[in-house]
Symmetry: C2
Subunit: 173 residues, 2 copies
């Protein structure tokens, strides 16, 4: 019964949130797909958090999000390999300093949102992952043609043993 109660509460909360956020985002312009055909995942801003990072080599802060399949995999420890249907999203900002607390590094200018979409058959030539990125606040697709994924895949090849994923899900209660 507790589980059913929890599910019912979650559904009601989601319903309210959907109405609220549906209203806020109404009137958006459609975002073009990536050159390899991947569409900007619907509702990614509302996905739960998997991890975060601070890249001190290029001064960016990152938050890694996941769709429902990815979150279930992350929380149950089934991430090597990640299951088909999992999508990882990464929000990237230039870092800056919080004026009210100078030892806090916080998000500045938005750089891009990037995604890894797991589909072992569809993306067999790039480790089972489809890659896509949309640049800046205008969400401009990254790459001149579908070959752009070689750049992504090349960078991720050193973490082949972690299913080509740099992110490790952060510990959560």
């Amino acid at each position: 019964m507790q589980r059913l109660d929890r599910i019912t509460r979650n559904i009601i909360q989601c319903f309210v949130l959907s109405l609220v956020l549906g209203g806020v985002s109404a009137g958006e312009q459609p975002v073009p797909p990536a050159p390899n055909g991947i569409a900007l995942p619907e509702g990614y801003r509302d996905w739960p958090v998997i991890a975060s990072s601070h890249r001190i080599d290029n001064n960016t802060l990152r938050v890694i999000l996941g769709n429902g399949i990815a979150i279930e995999a992350a929380r149950s420890g089934n991430t090597n390999p990640w299951p088909d249907g999992a999508i990882l999203g990464k929000l990237v900002w230039k870092d800056t300093t919080l004026k009210a607390w100078e030892k806090a590094v916080v998000p500045g200018e938005f750089v891009h949102a990037e995604f890894m979409v797991k589909d072992v058959k569809k993306w067999a030539t790039t480790g089972g992952w489809g890659f896509a990125r949309w640049k800046g606040m205008d969400q401009v697709p990254y790459g001149d043609n579908a070959g752009f994924v070689q750049e992504c895949f090349g960078c991720h090849t050193p973490v082949k043993d972690n299913d080509y994923v740099f992110t490790h899900p952060a510990q959560l209660p």
Copy 2:
């Protein structure tokens, strides 16, 4: 119609996510409330992201989340003051280095989850905010008695002009 379609899709996605996450989290032990009576907010792990930070004075990475009211406020720029009913959640980890990319600082040990609950009447003596924190993976309430909030409020007083909130919502498309 596009807005209705979006809402319908969100509701369906939320429904599926609720079933999945309800299943994963079934059987949890109830977490005791904070000494001031604030209960651990239901489903906070699934809240959308507002911002992140890296505190280089105490070597922690943080992700700031919000409930539906907080997210609507953040995305519409209505955060000074934040509206009644808004809850901000902060997940805090000790920072560590990603082995596969040594210039990436990533979450290590989970430190605590802490919350600010906006209710102007109920929490009138602390700027309209109720404070609460649960420590570690065991989610032990912080503070021996309700007086613990003076420590929280004292630290937040320098940002009174930002409605006692350090966080500025990160730029998002």
